[in-house]
Amino acid sequence: MPRRKTDHPRTRWLRLAALVAALALAVAACGGTSSGNASSGNNGGGNGGAASTTLRTAFVADMQVPDPDIFYETEGNQVVMSTYEGLVRYQQNPPTNALEGLLATSWEKSADGKTYTFHLRSNVKFEDGTPMDSAAAKASFERRPKVNQGPAYMLAQVASYGTPDPLTFVVNLKQPVSAFMDYLAAPYGPKLLSPTAMTKYAKGGDFTQGYLKTHSIGTGPYYIKSFTLGQQYVLAANPNYWGAKPKITTIEINIVPDLSTQQLKIEGGDLDILHNLPAATTNTFKTKSGFQVITIPALQKSVLKINPQKAPFNDLSLRQALRAAIDRNKLTSEIYGNLGTVSTQMLPAGMQPAGTGLDSYTYDPTLLPAAVKKLPSSSKSITIAYASGFVNDQRTAEAIQKVLADAGFNAKVTPITLAQFFALRDQPESKVPNLLVETANPDAAHPDTYLRIFFNTGGFLNYVKGGSKAADAEMDRGLYTNDPAVVKDAYEKASQLVHDSATFVTIADVKGTFVATTKLKGWTSTGAAPLSLNFQSATLG
């Protein structure tokens, strides 16, 4: 483009560019730093000088609705466990699988194991001021089967309820259920809801489901102050809470789907605690000034699931050879560092007595290559699946892929969505992957809540239909009994039978892990609830 000497286009361009740059800088500079919160401050450790009363954390995605009779996943436990309480809970400090009273101070079980009598805590109020009593407990328990969503199975064996006086609540079962008290202590177990609010906010026979999509009506130390989908949930201290008032009066939960962004935000001082970072990233925070890595015992297990329904792993000896080729020590060390421990039992550590339900085998990498040589070439192409977004499982799958490749397999690693995982049981065998890697937790600390869902041949999360009918029978024997000796024996035998089927290789017991500013102190565990902590007694700075 020719230019005329009388024009000064270059000067004009420069002026224009300078103007644009100045405008951009003005917008950036007007608000100063990036802190997203009035109480936030410096880098590398969150809130500034004085103690803050607001704790900021992040979820990778919106939780399901915070209705305790519907909520049935892991992301969101923090909300439900902070706003609702059940009759009992798992001991929190120190965290163990022992039961302790919460809204019930004590309880008795009848000799036949079919009747439970709970003595309720006095002077407890719901967040709306309604007194908590046996009528409230009855109404809350009765709501669960009416709503009839995922967690409803926990009360499926209830025959009737009794309320002999305001502080005594009786549950009569159709038959003894050895896991019943664990169901009550589970994060997804029945919680108590204000009967006043249940009546007041019910619309058109919806059992208050509409209201509870964005509100809470529990007795917990916090209540839901605001619930903005896709953006933020704010929990505030419950003024009617029966226990010690929380020092952290507000918990802000921001929806930040990208883990890199979450990491940047906690490093930038805009978040105080995170729970979703992959193990490798979490480990880097151990040496960063101003941060701590919190680990708690969690009922999480990383497991390789072997599909016995189709070639090549429909052969028991090949499954055993594959299991022998998995170096659990190396895998656990590489993937988790000290955020996981090498698995020794079929169930997550702590669910069965030490030394029982073992998943023992001898590492021998020579067996698999020898077995693969005998396979036809058509059986050497296999697929390993993991749930997309689960970085630790992806790394585990990739490490196993290398083991398989070294043995002569052509293994492909593929991510699939959770919805696809849930559909695997209904797929034709040809469409179910040969191998799956999954880290998951049970609903509670009772062995049945893990064995039945993951290892029962009809279990909803037994995607590969592994295990055995004999093991299934042992699970039933262990669940519907009142005899502790039978329970112990049945689940030990079930675990052994599942181990013998060589359809599941347990890899690591994975700790519950959080990255937090060092100013956060005084938290406790929430028992079997993954991804959440109890902040009732916590302080920030």
Partner: protein, 337 residues
């Protein structure tokens, strides 16, 4: 013009029908169980079947499709399996964030594209390196560019926020859901600046690719136009180069750039998903990602329809703008008709 609008509406209907059909086909062949994902892994088979029946998922697919079309005609997109709210309510809640981001990005892309096109066609000092720099940024994957900009402007310089639409010190009290407009309505300059700060990196991230594409097409078109006789005549009349470009060349060169802009803005809607994830932008992209993860088909179909309408509408607007920019097209249009 009215004929064009009728044709557009007709084509919109066809596009929407095809889109809904495509999503239903995907639903049929995709090995995912939205019902199980909604009620939870350990829900009993009885509960799963009850939910499946309630949603009509136990009916043959053609019946489901007909029922769905009937509901859509009545403005009912069904309830999201994940949020358990009406899909239309969810879309209304999430859409303003996406529209605000997409509009700002589109305006920025247009502005930068014109700037780049003019500058590089002009051949001034630094135009080559500016072109190369923008091309490099535009070639980078969106998520990588997003993280890069975050590291620089949030992590290193502390100039701009990392995520969301607004800091906690400000609360959007409506009425439109468009924060820029709402802050102006409430005469709240603090909120306006805060919203613009939050918007800055996502909008730039989204705009760079389209800007480079528009700029490159505009440059080549401008170079062609500047060789035309009428441009030489304009110069001979003594008009400044600036006036020649703005008054004579730019308008005639804008046709291909506008076509490219229409295409790019459509593609920009696809880029929104990644950008909203990186910047935790509470819009339709975020809603889409979460819905796909749980095979929430009512939500996926709702979003598909909305984005389909947006895409067709954007291209219709571009067509009109082309007619305004180049009157010759109106004559050609009439002649063809």
């Amino acid at each position: 013009m009215s004929r064009m609008i009728l044709v557009r509406i007709g084509s919109l209907m066809v596009v929407l029908l095809v889109l809904t059909l495509a999503v239903f086909m995907i639903k049929a062949v995709l090995p995912a169980d939205p019902v199980r994902a909604a009620v939870g892994a350990q829900a009993s088979e009885e509960i799963v079947q009850a939910k499946r029946h309630e949603l009509g998922y136990d009916k043959p697919l053609p019946n489901q499709y007909v029922r769905f079309l009937g509901n859509v005609m009545h403005g009912d997109f069904g309830d999201s399996l994940r949020t358990r709210r009406p899909v239309l309510d969810d879309i209304n809640r999430y859409a303003p964030a996406t529209i605000e981001l997409a509009l700002c990005a589109a305006l920025l892309a247009g502005f930068l594209g014109i700037l780049l096109g003019l500058w590089s066609a002009h051949g001034g000092r630094g135009s080559g390196s500016a072109r190369v720099t923008m091309l490099a940024f535009a070639s980078a994957p969106t998520f990588f560019l997003g993280i890069l900009l975050l590291l620089l402007f949030y992590g290193r310089l502390h100039w701009l926020p990392a995520s969301g639409r607004l800091s906690n010190k400000h609360v959007d009290s409506g009425p439109t859901g468009f924060l820029i407009i709402d802050s102006l309505i409430h005469r709240n300059p603090g909120e306006l600046v805060d919203a613009l700060q939050h918007l800055a990196i996502p909008a730039v991230c989204l705009a760079l690719g389209p800007a480079v594409a528009i700029g490159r097409v505009l440059r080549s078109s401008l170079l062609d136009v500047m060789r035309q006789d009428y441009v030489r005549t304009a110069r001979a009349k003594g008009l400044s180069e600036w006036m020649v470009v703005l008054r004579h060349a730019l308008r005639n060169a804008s046709g291909p750039a506008l076509s490219m802009a229409g295409l790019q803005v459509g593609l920009l809607l696809a880029g929104v998903v990644v950008v909203e994830l990186v910047f935790a932008w509470p819009g339709l992209g975020l809603y889409t990602q979460q819905s796909i993860q749980q095979a929430d088909f009512p939500a996926i179909i709702g979003i598909t329809l909305v984005l389909g309408i947006a895409y067709v509408a954007i291209n219709a607007i571009v067509d009109v703008m082309q007619l305004v920019a180049d009157p010759r097209l109106r004559v050609v249009g009439r002649a063809v008709a």
